[in-house]
């Protein structure tokens, strides 16, 4: 028989305001095995933990139940406290009477009744707990960063500077990401390339960093400290070792009609290309869909003009397999498709563009060489209208429910830059709210209004109406004046909502990292563990976790690096002892468990068994504790009931069911 102590936490008033905690403690004493029960204001505090330790020692407790917040919050805390007092940490169970009880119920009697039942279930379970010993696993001292934008580059640099090997896998032919597409950055108006390019060069030159561009993660297996990853290096059709980056092939390539991804399709590029002049690596790729040689077999001009002999039409995709201790996701974002927002006439007029497209228009390396002009006729615009919140803050399924966070600031930036360079151009911004929390952000926005005379109108636009003469009629609200406005414009710029890179879903599935309804990766704790995924060993950097501007992204990238370094610095990791165990007397050797195990943790061995005095050799299941992650799939699949899961055994769960239904 266990000797169980029950500790009921008030959590200040978080629990005690709705649950009669002393009543819960009192009722606990009536449960089988319970020899001690008390309540205290903050069980997780040092004094609270001391009470637990004292009770363990004085009353000789063999198991404890803490009625408190979610085990996801403080299970580890209480396990450690128990361990310090000499109790096996796995003899601790938590009854979640905060998140699952006091916070969601209002009636004290009802909440107290429920808390008592949750306590009973935990006591029933702990009565059947057995001491468990955590094993150890090794840590591969190498990190993988998925995505080579500013987030990925920063994370990789920080990890590499701490002395660990890092690989960056980037899908496109160059690192640099969205930031490389930007012209200037807020709130200081630095040139984006001027601050990004040095970092790109540093990353490529760093002896600890290996960059795989034009590559994608194909398969991930293993677990924290010991991931095995397959990376597909897509065929570049150019030998990276031979290419000198002279650029002659791109100049001579006769196929120049492919839309330029880097310039958001506003102009075209050659079939053999580097996305932009400062690309790293400065080695082009052949877009086989656009290449005449690949389409018709004739051409081969690039091969003829390449003095280094680097063109290789026969190159094939290559799969490399590498081991990593930690993985950082930095997959970034894209703007949403505006198909469903054609009231803004994006698909009806070339002069309606997204803000990211405007970045390219404003950039010296962009389609208009940095001249502000209408894409339809090349004329200089006199009136420009910006529309905010296009697809952001939408409750319907057309857009996104969240605020994209960066639009208010980049629109102020665009407005300011335009007014600065072209003082005769009028700029109007239709906004719903101007949101500028951040250091020097509101000051920046106010400068756009006060110093640059940007006309901000509070109200959304209902429709953009292309006129026969090529102008755009903007029909919007002015809520402060309470009137409907019709404004003629030469260009309309849409602050288009951002969304996580669509590939992130596939990657999250491979990593078994959870993802929210907007496809942002979920953090382990919204406040206290913001750069970690709930899946151990997976870290989050940049917009893949939620909308962010550059300074926030860089800060988070550094934080993710620190978490990864913290993991890589360890030589051994404690493994989860809640693994499956086969009862070899019951096992009939059917292999069902082996087939459902996602980790290949179950093998079959011939073992000698003593079945009621009959000694014989049988083929039975054996679980490799280092590989087993404790999901329990095998326990239910096993037809003979030989498999059970430590810490979540059949008997324990049935005891909980019984306690709840009592």
């Amino acid at each position: 028989m266990q000797r169980i102590g029950v500790f009921v936490c008030h959590c200040g008033s978080n629990i005690a305001a709705t649950v009669d905690v002393s009543k819960v403690a009192e009722m606990a004493l009536m449960e089988p095995g319970v020899v001690h029960a008390e309540d205290y204001q903050y069980m997780c505090s040092e004094a609270g933990q001391a009470k637990i330790a004292a009770a363990i020692q004085e009353k000789g407790l063999t198991g404890i139940v803490v009625c408190s917040c979610s085990p996801r919050m403080h299970e580890t805390t209480f396990r450690k406290a128990a361990e310090r007092a000499g109790l096996n940490p796995y003899m601790v169970e938590i009854a979640n009477i905060r998140e699952h009880c006091s916070w969601i119920h209002k009636d004290m009697e009802e909440a107290t009744k429920k808390a008592v039942i949750l306590m009973r279930a935990a006591v029933a379970k702990v009565n059947l707990n057995t001491p468990l010993q955590a094993g150890e696993s090794r840590v591969t001292k190498r990190a993988l960063v998925i995505g080579g934008g500013i987030a990925g580059i920063q994370t990789a640099l920080d990890i590499a500077d701490a002395g660990y090997e890092v690989d960056i896998v980037e899908k496109t032919p160059s690192i640099g990401g969205r930031m490389s597409q930007l012209d200037k950055t807020f709130p200081t108006l630095d040139c984006s390339a001027c601050i990004l390019t040095p970092k790109m060069v540093e990353a490529s030159a760093h002896e600890k960093i290996t960059i795989y561009t034009y590559s994608e993660v194909e398969k991930v297996s293993g677990f924290v400290g010991d991931f095995t990853v397959d990376i597909r290096k897509k065929a570049r059709s150019v030998d990276m070792n031979k290419c000198t980056g002279c650029g002659v092939c791109q100049e001579k390539c006769p196929s120049k009609k492919a839309p330029s991804e880097f310039n958001r399709g506003l102009n075209t590029r050659s079939a053999i290309y580097t996305p932009f002049a400062q690309a790293i690596p400065n080695v082009p790729v052949i877009d086989r869909e656009a290449c005449i040689k690949f389409k018709t077999g004739k051409c081969g001009i690039c091969s003829k003009v390449c003095q280094a002999g680097a063109i290789d039409y026969e190159q094939k995709d290559e799969i490399i397999t590498e081991k990593y201790g930690a993985i950082v996701v930095a997959t970034g974002f894209d703007t949403i498709n505006l198909e469903k927002y054609d009231e803004y006439a994006y698909s009806q007029s070339k002069d309606v563009i997204t803000s990211l497209e405007l970045e390219r228009v404003m950039n010296a390396a962009g389609p208009t060489h940095g001249h502000l002009e209408r894409l339809s006729d090349g004329k200089a615009p006199k009136e420009i209208v910006f529309i905010q919140c296009v697809g952001s803050r939408c409750a319907d399924d057309r857009g996104k429910p969240y605020c994209s966070k960066i639009c208010c600031m980049y629109t102020a930036k665009h407005a300011m830059l335009i007014r600065d360079k072209y003082p005769d151009v009028n700029v109007t911004v239709f906004y719903i709210d101007v949101r500028t929390p951040g250091k020097n952000f509101d000051e920046f926005y106010r400068r756009a209004v006060e110093q640059y005379g940007v006309n901000y109108i509070k109200g959304q636009v209902g429709k953009v109406i292309p006129q026969p003469d090529g102008k755009l009629l903007v029909q919007g609200s002015d809520l402060l004046d309470n009137r409907q406005i019709l404004k003629e414009a030469d260009m309309v710029v849409l602050a288009t909502a951002i969304e996580p890179n669509p590939d992130v879903r596939k990657i999250a599935t491979m990593l078994t990292a959870s993802i929210d309804t907007n496809n942002f990766l979920t953090e382990a704790h919204a406040k206290l563990r913001p750069v970690e995924s709930p899946t151990a060993g997976i870290f989050l950097s940049g917009v893949c976790q939620g909308p962010k501007d550059i300074p926030e992204t860089v800060a988070q990238a550094g934080a993710a690096a620190v978490k990864a370094i913290g993991l890589l610095a360890k030589d051994k990791l404690m493994t989860n002892p809640c693994t499956a165990q086969a009862d070899i007397l019951l096992c009939n050797g059917c292999s069902t468990c082996e087939n459902v195990c996602p980790y290949g943790a179950i093998t079959y061995e011939d073992k000698e068994v003593n079945d009621h005095g009959i000694r014989e050799t049988r083929r039975v299941a054996v679980v490799n504790n280092a590989l087993c992650q404790g999901c329990g799939a095998c326990t239910v699949a096993c037809p003979s009931g030989a498999m059970d899961l430590q810490g979540f055994s059949n008997r324990q769960i049935l005891a909980e069911v019984d306690a709840i239904c009592r």
């Binding site: 009231e343 319907d396 719903i432 109200g459 209902g462 029909q475 609200s477 309470n482």
Partner: protein, 129 residues
């Protein structure tokens, strides 16, 4: 419950609209083709229901200027559907006060030989009980 509160509840129930979802972006008013004819503008309509100022609403000429063209319903980013609220207010008027906006004896002079039946039927539905 005050009668205005009751009427506000009724408008919410008939329309099936939760006016609290409104974020006051003004896209409905930016969209509305009858905007200039309305005394209470579409986005204000939502606030009036929230504030239970129903007297002003039922006296508003906006009720009879709304075309039920559903442009605001289509474009509202918050799924508030001001057009449905306006129709519900219209229903409250024609049902409860038996104050039809279209009187039977004024109809003959409104007719012309080209006028399609559809027009008369539609106007009857929107303006009368």
């Amino acid at each position: 419950m005050s009668s205005e509160k009751k009427q506000a509840e009724m408008i919410k129930e008939i329309s099936g609209v939760n006016p609290l979802k409104c974020m006051k972006c003004g896209k409905c008013s930016a969209t509305c083709p009858s905007y200039n004819e309305m005394d209470i503008k579409p986005h204000q309509f939502v606030s009036y229901v929230i504030n239970e100022d129903i007297e002003s609403l039922v006296d508003s000429k906006s009720l009879w200027k709304c075309l039920s063209c559903f442009a605001c319903v289509e474009r509202c980013p918050r799924d508030v559907k001001p057009g449905k609220l306006i129709d519900a207010a219209r229903q409250v008027v024609v049902r409860q006060r038996s104050q039809d906006y279209l009187k039977a004896d004024e109809i003959p002079e409104l007719l012309d030989p080209e006028l399609p039946q559809q027009l008369l039927v539609s106007a009857f539905r929107r303006y009368r009980r």
